[in-house]
């Protein structure tokens, strides 16, 4: 017990019936762990990454490339294999928690999908889903809360900077090194099938492995377009920033806006700064020194360019306050013509937009004759940690996650991703699962098992072979120009303690400048505050980590 919660105090009060015991009670409640935490990997013995062993599966129609273009399936594999031979669970209950991008799931009692997965896993599952817009505050309270009440399985979503995340994981989560490091992972074949790059981008903490990553392809934040609107307005391959402005002007009329964004995205600053070839987060030079994207002239140019777009009225007026879900709805109903979202959004976007519009990922525009770049994702969308528990319990939880990590083309994958045949999906003429009405409510989007563990991703949208071809072709163009954040997988004590507030202050300023509430020069003030407040220390810490890891 390391924290004095009000509830504990109340319980103790009720027991003693006297308030006089309060001071004694508080002083009795001391902590064993130090506050600083030592999350750095520099100077630590580094646990080897789990030995990669690709799971065998069906051959893709469109081949993956060594550079990182994903395997693509234009049709569903006709022969599925089994990847898990025994039921992982023992009938016990496990509490899990993850982010969600869907609507709240139907309660377990009336949810056949939930029950089917529970049966296959051999456990009862209590699922706490956290909508993205609430993620940061919800996790802040979970992390500050009583360690005893933590869920058994928590996915730490990488889309947000959580305060002292690495330290929290180090102190509260089970060290999984003995179970997963090196050859030990062979006990969980599907976890062994997670590519090493995903483990690396998750990163170690203090030299140890504390989580299981959710593998992601190279493309990260992507500008999703209403293809019809943008093509009609003159979008073409090899477009420039001037072309982009012209297209945005043409595609904005009446109550339609060419550009939309959700709050916290700084008017889709990621895709624009990448198109301007600004470093995404951090860049490392040949000498191993780290340079922040913020201080790069190209970043400032991107912000200035966005401010012009905003001033001209091409952005939806509520672009600083829309939730991601609301902005997505506006994209689907045609109010906005484009929206920055994760690349993985395609699995929902193609089916959701059926009959409404044809979505497409944007190619980056060129700036001053230099072809634009795109955002490279952290190869881990998040990572799953386990509450500390005895060995048998940890092994059970890992078996459950191993089941959920079954790759595409297995029976396990089909159950978790499409539900029960005849209930949640039927077979189309090409054999691909077609969602039933029930499947549109009871599914992996609303009950997001995919955010607990998942096998390597492939390009596939049931019933949309053209989507696979489009995305595969698009990836071949953008993977070579993807700009990777050099800090992925590295730890920084300063980032750990202050990263959240430092980023929030920068985001506030970037948004203010683009919204026209502050002048471009305000950016310089914010950047120097960011540097002296911790940015410069982070650069040093990352450089140290980088040197130690390579």
């Amino acid at each position: 017990m390391s924290r004095m919660s009000r509830r504990t105090l109340l319980r103790s009060l009720a027991a003693t019936g006297a308030a006089a015991s309060v001071p004694g009670l508080l002083s009795a409640c001391t902590s064993s762990s130090a506050a600083g935490g030592n999350v750095s990997n520099a100077g630590k013995k580094l646990a080897p990454w789990p030995t990669y062993h690709a799971a065998s599966g069906p051959a893709p129609d469109l081949a993956p490339t060594g550079a990182g273009v994903q395997a693509g399936f234009t049709s569903y594999p006709s022969h599925l294999v089994g990847s898990v031979s025994h039921t992982p669970g023992d009938g016990s209950t496990i509490k899990v928690m993850s982010v969600t991008f869907g609507t709240p799931p139907k309660p377990e009692a009336g949810n056949q999908y939930w029950k089917a997965v529970e049966k296959a896993l051999g456990v009862k599952i209590e699922y706490t889903v956290i909508p993205t817009d609430d993620y940061q505050t919800k996790m802040a309270t979970v992390m500050a809360g009583d360690p005893g009440s933590l869920p058994d399985v928590i996915n730490m979503f990488s889309g947000f900077v959580l305060p002292r995340e690495a330290q929290f994981v180090q102190v509260r989560a089970q060290d999984l090194t003995p179970y997963l490091s090196g050859a030990a992972v062979a006990d969980y074949p599907n976890l062994a099938g997670i590519p090493t790059q995903a483990w690396q981008d998750m990163g170690r903490i203090g030299g140890r492995i504390h989580g299981i990553p959710l593998e992601r392809p190279i493309p990260g934040s992507t500008l999703w377009l209403n293809q019809g609107d943008f093509t009609a307005a003159g979008m073409h391959d090899g477009w420039t920033a001037q072309d982009f402005t012209a297209v945005a002007r043409k595609a904005t009329h009446g109550k339609k806006y060419a550009l939309g964004s959700a709050k916290g995205s700084d008017f889709n600053n990621n895709v624009h700064s990448a198109a301007h070839n600004a470093p995404q987060g951090w860049a490392v030079d040949g000498k191993g020194a780290f340079h922040p994207g913020y201080t790069d002239e190209r970043f400032k140019a991107a912000v200035a360019y966005q401010a012009q777009l905003r001033k001209a009225g091409y952005y939806h007026p509520d672009s600083t306050s829309l939730s991601t879900a609301d902005a997505y709805t506006l994209l689907l109903n045609g109010t906005i013509g484009s929206l920055q979202n994760g690349f993985g959004n395609y699995t929902a976007l193609y089916p959701d937009s059926k009959g409404l519009l044809t979505p497409a990922p944007a190619l980056p525009y060129a700036v001053d004759g230099t072809p634009g770049g795109v955002v490279a994702a952290r190869r881990s969308f998040g990572y799953t940690i386990l509450k500390k528990a005895p060995k048998e319990r940890i092994q059970l939880l890992l078996r459950v996650l191993d089941y959920l990590a079954a790759p595409f083309g297995t029976k396990e994958y089909e159950l978790t991703h499409f539900g029960v045949e005849g209930v949640h999906f039927t077979r189309g003429t090409d054999g691909s699962p077609q969602t039933t009405e029930l499947g549109q409510v009871e599914n992996i989007t609303n009950l997001p098992f995919r955010y607990l563990a998942e096998g390597p991703q492939v390009l596939f949208v049931p019933g949309f072979p053209e989507a696979t071809r489009t995305l595969h072709a698009w990836q071949q163009k953008v993977v070579p120009v993807a700009i990777r954040d050099a800090s992925f997988g590295l730890q920084s004590a300063t980032f750990n303690a202050q990263g959240t507030t430092l980023k929030a202050d920068m985001d506030d300023t970037i948004t203010s400048v683009i919204a026209g509430r502050a002048s471009l020069s305000a950016l310089d003030g914010a950047i120097s505050k960011w540097r002296s407040g911790g940015g410069d220390r982070m650069a040093e810490e990352y450089a140290k980590e980088h040197a130690a890891n390579t």
Binding site: S2, R3, M4, R6, L9, L10, L13, A19, V22, L26, S27, C29, T30, S31, S32, S33, A34, A35, G36, G37, Q136, T137, A140, T141, M143, A144, G145, P147, L162, P163, R164, Q167, F168, V171, R172, G254, K255, K263, H316, P317, D318, T320, S321, A497, Q498, T500, T501, A504, D505, D508, T511, S512, A515, R517, A518
Partner: protein, 284 residues
């Protein structure tokens, strides 16, 4: 008695102990006593932080606007209602003006957004008529007047309750006597009504001063993204973003403590002034 006492001990006085966080680099996983002491470090950082002074300035400014523009409105409405002689109408109007108080801020803010927002009703009409649209929601300059308008719309009716109760205590005979002596409505208000309800007005004013730096957490939080922290950050949202969201609990508690001290000083001073002026005040 015991449950009430326990409530105050645990949730009011007990919780005060946690204010020591203001003097620590508090890390939840290290525990209250495991976190290292930092002395006045958090306060030093706080007072050097321009964002905090922005928040403090906004808070004071909004508080002043509320005091000047919102505080008198319920009193005026109460006087108006009190002057109605037809009691059926009076009771009906009273019930209707209470209603907005029970609507949560989420709904109120959404309603204002729907009517005045960039894609709202007003701009829809203006746009359709080929006129210039007006930028109200999302415009930092319009934000503070907007806040006051929202508060007036939502809470004026509710604020009349205590004034009406005070007004009902005024002896009718005094009005009659004044009228017979030839006093018009204005003189009756000035010499009869106002002196009778003055202790209540002063009491409410002092209590409002103690709470003056709480200018509406939810209301700000819901609209902060639309106009940015420069215009909408107040001490309460600063505490929330630094503490709960940012994890810098020590700094956030320091800011909260600062706010509490200012509130206490204000109540004490206002009470003293009330005594000087011969009023009862809140306490003696």
């Amino acid at each position: 008695m015991v449950p009430g006492l326990a409530y105050f001990l645990v949730f009011q006085y007990g919780a005060l102990i946690v204010n020591v966080v203001a003097f620590k680099d508090y890390v939840p996983f290290a525990g209250l006593w495991g976190s290292p002491w930092t002395g006045l470090g958090n306060f030093q950082q706080l007072f050097q932080d321009s964002a905090f002074w922005h928040a403090a300035f906004n808070t004071a400014w909004i508080a002043l606007l509320q005091l000047v523009f919102y505080f008198p409105v319920p009193l005026a409405l109460a006087l108006l209602l009190h002057s109605l002689t037809w009691s059926t109408v009076r009771r009906f109007v009273q019930s209707v003006v209470y209603l907005p108080h029970f609507i949560s801020w989420v709904i109120v803010v959404a309603m204002f957004q729907q009517v005045l927002g960039g894609t709202g009703m007003l701009n829809g009409y203006l746009g359709d008529a080929g006129l210039h649209t007006v930028d109200i929601i999302g415009n930092p300059d319009a934000f503070k007047p907007l806040l006051i308008a929202q508060v007036i719309w939502k809470d004026t009716g509710w604020g009349t309750i205590i004034f009406l109760a005070a007004l009902s205590q005024v002896d009718e005979q005094q009005y009659e006597a004044a009228a017979i002596d030839g006093a018009g409505p204005w003189r009756r208000f000035w010499h009869v009504t106002l002196p009778a309800i003055r202790p209540v007005v002063v009491l409410l004013l002092i209590m409002r001063l103690g709470d003056i730096l709480s200018v509406g957490f939810e209301q700000m939080l819901l609209q902060r993204d639309a106009v940015g922290p420069q215009a909408a950050e107040v001490i309460d949202t600063f505490v929330y973003y630094k503490g709960i969201v940012g994890g810098d609990y020590g700094l956030a508690v320091a800011a909260g403590l600062f706010k509490g001290v200012v509130g206490a000083v204000l109540v004490y001073t206002a009470n003293k002034i009330a005594h000087r002026l011969g009023e009862q005040g809140v306490y003696r």
